[in-house]
C-alpha cells in the first residue's frame, strides 16, 4: 500500500481528480441552467416584471427565515412553494392577490401560544407582485415535490 500510494501520487490524484469532477459539475450546471430557463420562463408562466418585483419583496422582508420555499429556508412556518395550490387560487391571479392580501392584513394574529407572523409594510402593487411570484414559483417543475398539498 505505502509503496503503491506514495504521497506525491496521492497529491496528484487529489488535484487531477478534483479538476475532472469540477469540470463535470460545470458542464452539468450549464445544462441545468438551460433546463431551468426553458422550463420556467414559458408562454404560460412568463417571468414578468411583477414576478421579479415579488421576488424582491420576498427577499426584502426575509420571509425565508421563517418559511420554506421549495423546502429551503427556516422550518418555523409553512411551506409557501405550493401555498397558491393549497389556497386553491393557482390559476386565478385576482383571487391569489385577494387571499394573500387578506392573510397578511390579519397578521400578527396575537393569539396566545401561536406562532406570530409579523406585520409587513407592503404596498398593493408589491402585494400583487408577491402573489404573482408565489404563483409563478408554484408552477415550477419541482419533480412533483411536495408529496401533498400540506407542503
Amino acid at each position: 500500500m505505502s509503496e503503491i500510494l506514495t504521497k506525491s501520487r496521492a497529491r496528484n490524484v487529489f488535484y487531477g481528480g478534483s479538476l475532472v469532477f469540477a469540470a463535470i459539475f460545470v458542464l452539468m450546471t450549464i445544462d441545468s441552467h438551460r433546463y431551468i430557463v426553458a422550463s420556467t420562463e414559458t408562454e404560460k408562466t412568463p417571468l414578468t416584471e411583477q414576478v421579479v418585483l415579488g421576488k424582491h419583496v420576498w427577499e426584502r422582508n426575509s420571509c425565508i427565515n421563517c418559511h420554506t420555499l421549495h423546502g429551503e429556508g427556516a422550518y418555523f412556518a409553512p411551506e409557501v412553494g405550493n401555498v397558491m395550490t393549497r389556497w386553491g387560487v393557482l390559476d386565478d391571479p385576482e383571487a391569489a392577490y385577494q387571499t394573500l392580501d387578506g392573510w397578511m392584513a390579519a397578521q400578527p394574529s396575537g393569539i396566545e401560544g401561536r406562532r406570530q407572523m409579523p406585520h409587513f409594510e407592503i404596498t398593493p402593487e408589491e402585494m400583487r407582485g408577491l402573489a404573482e411570484f408565489l404563483r409563478w414559483a408554484d408552477q415550477m417543475n419541482t419533480q412533483s415535490w411536495p408529496p401533498n398539498d400540506a407542503g
Binding site: R11, A22, C63, G71
Partner: protein
C-alpha cells in the same frame, strides 16, 4: 509558539469567541420562541433572530479559520507572516462588517437569500477582507517551506473566497437563484471547508501525537481527495426539488452517499494517529476536541447526512426538522468543535501559559457535545413525526407543529446545556490562568 507574528491569531480567536457567544444566545432565544411563540414577536421577530444566529455562526467559523491559518502557516512555512498590519486590518474590516450587519438586521435592513442577508457593503467588505487574507497568507507560504498541510489549507481557503463571488449573483429566476446559491452554501460546507478542516486536523495531529509528517500528509491528501470527489457532484442532493433536471436525483443520491467517506476517514485518521503516536502531549483538552470533532462530524455530517440524502427518502424529509437535526450536529461536529480544538491548542501559547490539562475546558466539551447530541435526537424524533403526519398523512403544517411541543421543550433544555458549555469554554480560555486540577506525577516534566 515559535514566531512573534502568530500572535495576531489571538485577535481572531477572541473576536470569534465573542460571536460564538452571540450565536448560541441567539439560538437559545430562537429555541425559546418555539416553546413560547409570543416572546418578543412584535419587537424582534423570529426571522431576525435566526439571521443573527446563522450569520454569527458563519462569521465566527470563518474568523476561526483565518486565525487558525495565521497561527498555523508560520509554523509550517517556518517564517513570520508577510504583513502583520494587513492581518489586523483584515480583522478590523471583518469586525466592522459584522457589527454593521447585526445592526442593520435589528433595524430591518437585510436581504432575503438565506445566509446571504448581509447588505451589499458588508458583502463587499468581506470580499476585500478575503482578498487581503489571500494575498497575505499566500505571500507567507510562498516565501517559506511548502508542506502538504499549507497546500491543502490554502487550496481550501482560495476556493472558499472565490466561491464567495456567487454572493453577488442573484438571478431574477428563482430556480437559477437557488442553483447558484448552493455554489456557496454546499461547496463551502461540503467542499472547501472540508479541506480547511482536514488541514487543521492534520496540523493538530502532527503536533499532538508526534506521528511522522510523511504519514500524516499522505492521509491528508487521501481525505481531501475523497471529500472533493464526492462533495462536488454531491451538490446534486440539493438539486432534487428546486426546478433542476431529474437526473440530479441519481447523481445527487450516489455521490452524496460517498460524502460519508471523508468524514469516516477523518475520524479513523484521528484515532489511528493517536494510537500510533508516542508523544504524550500535555494539552489533553486539545486532543479531546480533535477526537471529538472528527467523531461528531462523522455522525452529524456523515450518518445524519446520509439518513436523508437518498432522493426517495428526501422526497419526504426535505425541509423538515430532520434537516434541522442534521444541520445542527454537522456544523457543531465538523466546524465548531474543530475551531474550538484549534483555539484550545493555540490559546495557552498565545497567552503565554504552559500547556496544561484544561479541566474546565474538557467539562465544557462534554456539556456542549452532550447538549448537541440530545438536541439532535429530539429534533430527529420531532422530524420523524412531522414527516409522517405532514408528508405521508397530509395534515397541515401548523396542526403538526402543535403536536411537537414536548420535543421543542426538550430541545430548549439541550440548548441550555450548550450555552452553559459555551460560556464555560470562553471563560476557561480568556479568564482562567492557573491549573484547576494539579498534574499527576506521570505527566510532570513532559512538555512538548
Amino acid at each position: 509558539m515559535k514566531y512573534e507574528s502568530q500572535k495576531v491569531a489571538l485577535g481572531y480567536f477572541v473576536a470569534a469567541m465573542a460571536l460564538f457567544g452571540i450565536q448560541v444566545l441567539g439560538g437559545l432565544l430562537a429555541g425559546w420562541i418555539y416553546v413560547s411563540p409570543n416572546t418578543l414577536s412584535e419587537i424582534l421577530p423570529f426571522n431576525v433572530i435566526r439571521m443573527i444566529h446563522t450569520n454569527a455562526l458563519i462569521v465566527w467559523l470563518l474568523l476561526g479559520f483565518f486565525g487558525g491559518a495565521y497561527f498555523l502557516v508560520p509554523e509550517e512555512a517556518e517564517r513570520e507572516i508577510w504583513s502583520v498590519k494587513l492581518a489586523w486590518l483584515q480583522l478590523g474590516i471583518l469586525i466592522v462588517g459584522t457589527l454593521g450587519a447585526v445592526a442593520s438586521y435589528l433595524v430591518g435592513i437585510h436581504g432575503g437569500r438565506e445566509f446571504l442577508e448581509q447588505p451589499l457593503w458588508v458583502k463587499a467588505g468581506i470580499l476585500v477582507a478575503a482578498l487581503i487574507f489571500l494575498f497575505n497568507i499566500t505571500m507567507t507560504a510562498l516565501a517559506g517551506r511548502k508542506t502538504a498541510i499549507t497546500n491543502v489549507l490554502l487550496t481550501g481557503l482560495w476556493l472558499l473566497c472565490l466561491l464567495w463571488l456567487f454572493a453577488f449573483v442573484n438571478p431574477d429566476n428563482l430556480g437559477l437563484d437557488k442553483m447558484y446559491w448552493w455554489y456557496i452554501v454546499h461547496l463551502w460546507v461540503e467542499g472547501t471547508w472540508e479541506l480547511v478542516m482536514a488541514a487543521i486536523l492534520a496540523f493538530l495531529m502532527l503536533k499532538l501525537t508526534g506521528v511522522d509528517r510523511e504519514v500524516i500528509e499522505k492521509w491528508l491528501y487521501v481525505i481531501v481527495a475523497t471529500a472533493l470527489f464526492s462533495g462536488i457532484l454531491g451538490t446534486g442532493h440539493h438539486f432534487f426539488w428546486i426546478g433542476t433536471p431529474g437526473y440530479w436525483q441519481w447523481v445527487g443520491s450516489i455521490f452524496s452517499t460517498f460524502e460519508v467517506a471523508p468524514f469516516f476517514l477523518m475520524m479513523s485518521f484521528a484515532f489511528v494517529m493517536v494510537w500510533k503516536g508516542r508523544r504524550n502531549h500535555p494539552n489533553k483538552a486539545a486532543l479531546l476536541w480533535s477526537l471529538g470533532s472528527s467523531t461528531v462530524a462523522f455522525f452529524g455530517a456523515g450518518v445524519w447526512g446520509f439518513l436523508h440524502t437518498l432522493h426517495g427518502v428526501n422526497y419526504f424529509t426535505h425541509g423538515t426538522q430532520i434537516t434541522a437535526a442534521h444541520g445542527h450536529l454537522a456544523f457543531y461536529g465538523a466546524y465548531v468543535a474543530l475551531n474550538l480544538a484549534m483555539f484550545t491548542y493555540a490559546m495557552p501559547m498565545l497567552r503565554g501559559r504552559a500547556p496544561y490539562n484544561q479541566v474546565l475546558n474538557m467539562v465544557s466539551f462534554w456539556l456542549m457535545t452532550g447538549g448537541m447530541a440530545f438536541m439532535t435526537f429530539v429534533l430527529t424524533f420531532a422530524g420523524t413525526i412531522q414527516v409522517h403526519m405532514q408528508r405521508v398523512v397530509g395534515d397541515y403544517y401548523m396542526d403538526v407543529q402543535d403536536q411537537l411541543g414536548l420535543f421543542y421543550m426538550m430541545r430548549f433544555g439541550a440548548g441550555m446545556a450548550v450555552v452553559l458549555g459555551a460560556v464555560l469554554f470562553i471563560y476557561s480560555q480568556l479568564v482562567v490562568r492557573r491549573e484547576v486540577v494539579a498534574r499527576g506525577k506521570a505527566m510532570a516534566g513532559e512538555v512538548a
